[in-house]
């Protein structure tokens, strides 16, 4: 799951910044290694937010200079939202039990 996230981010970077990312390692700095400028960086992060339907935390944006860090942030956000939806689901079950006296 996490490697899949990295692969999709890698492809996105290649597309948005028009760069050859085949040799890019997970912890290569995008600015130093690929010469990504600040505006391209913003476009990459925008692409990540749209593709994964997440909102990256503002105070961590400046640290997101490697594929690895971006993937970590996405993974964390998606796991967190899965936890929320699972707990809502669980609470829903409990509520149902209370009301009907029966487990679903």
């Amino acid at each position: 799951m996490r490697t899949n996230i990295e692969a999709r981010i890698r492809e996105l970077i290649g597309r948005v910044a028009k760069l050859d990312v085949s040799q890019l390692q997970s912890d290569d700095d995008l600015v130093e290694r690929l010469g990504v400028d600040s505006l391209q960086g913003l476009q990459i992060l925008a692409g990540v937010e749209k593709q994964f339907d997440v909102r990256l935390p503002d105070d961590e944006l400046i640290k997101m200079r490697t594929i690895g860090r971006i993937a970590d942030a996405v993974h964390k956000l998606r796991s967190a939202s899965k936890d929320v939806s699972q707990s809502v689901h669980h609470e829903g079950h409990e509520a149902h039990e209370e009301i009907t006296g029966r487990a679903l």
Partner: protein
Amino acid sequence: MTPHLSTIVDVARFGAERFPDRVALEATSGGGSLTYSQLWDRVQQAANALRLRGLDRSSRVLLTAPAAPDWLVAFFSILHADLVVVPIPDAIGPPLVAAVAAHTGARLCIVGPQQTALRRVLGSVTCVTVGELSEAGGPGNQAGGLGEQSALRTDELAILAFTSGSTARPRAVEISHANVLSNLRALLAARQSREPETVLSMLPPAHLYELVVGQLAPLVIGGRVVYAGALLPNRLLNAIRDHGITRALTVPALLDALCREMLAALVDRGIVRPACLESSAVGIAMKLAQHSTEERERIRRAVRMQIGETFRAVGLGGASIGPGWPDVLALVGIGLDVGYGLTEAGPLVTLGLAPDCPPGSVGRALPGITIRIGQRGEVLVRSEGTMRGYWGDLGATAAALEDGWLHTGDRGMLDAAGHLYILGRLKEAMVTAAGDTLHPEEIEPYYSSRCFAEHCIVPMRGPDGNDLPALVIVPYAAETSDDEIEREFAELRAAAPPRYRVATMVRRNAPLPRTLLGKLKRRELGQTLEFNRDPRLAVI
């Protein structure tokens, strides 16, 4: 009617009297909002706190806090406490901030809550946040010698604004209250409508253009400023819709990102073909022009669904823009206003309102401003907005201000109707051994290539002391071989007119250096080439 404003502080004061309950400032990412009366209360509190520190009148106070409602609170309160504000973009880094503190003799810096590194570096300069000031300042109606009426005069120094200008060394421009207010009056007189606007603020408020046009101008007529936060293009378009934005100021690179984001959404919805995204702005405009009226209307409606119906104007400053995006924006019903100015002019000189401004022009002089073309085609400006001079640099001041005319250092021409066209920087003019005067902007179009992410022409000092134009390129991919770059250069050179055939090409594997508004630092780059003995192909 706009009340008579005597100082910049009056913008906040009269706003609180005339529209107390209207929202003045807002942040997109949950940073809260301030009504005009809340803003004025906070300004008074912070100004009280500043006065309690016992600084001498007109002492300089640095302002490095990030763009947010608190920035304007800090800005107004510094002025309200009879102090001079030195706004610094938070991106420039602690060592430069320390240099500015030393140059201006500042003893106090208003920082953002996250700027802990600055506190360490600035040492003897006290750092304080707006929050801390507000706490120390007590309730806004504190009386007893700390009353709000200061005897600020309109011609007093208000702001030390930094400009990189055309030289590598930044200068501090002395801007008075009267300078800013005359700019505001001229801008409001030039615009037809007095309808309050909701303006999205994306550029650093430390830049006079953003401060005067993007923040103070809306507040004078009871509008609203919405701070964008992180400039991710997807978030910006959402903010435009969600906050009812009517206008935004941008620079060319940001406008490009926003327009491409709009297009990407159209591609995602299958309304426009993906191939569109590969084109230049001109290519995209041409493709759209070939669509039928119905198809264009479909595109317009789709874009409006994304950005809402309120957005109607983009203000462009910082550098000129070619054709393409203005036509695309017009299709959606968004006008692109262009302008020309410089920090030294306070900062506005011309305004070109869509759709009447001829392509390539930066518009006509604002009311009350006179332009003439001087020697060597230099644009000269006479305006009440013009600076008093450069802080601590009489020589530079004397060179820039002559007989009440500001020497802009730009080359330009005026047409019969008074439209100004900017042709280039005088100082970037290169005089070759043959006695030719060449400008980078006339040579650069001949060296565009798909291999180059960026390129520019810079003046390099030749062995005989004359200027030699050199081409600096940034390859799209760091792995591109030198041979490939050399071949591409040779082809481009051969295809260029003899006059524009450049002898030297230099490869650079990092983005070109630019000012915070996106202008190329050609001279600075050219100077780094002086020390290359015989570059046929060098790497910097």
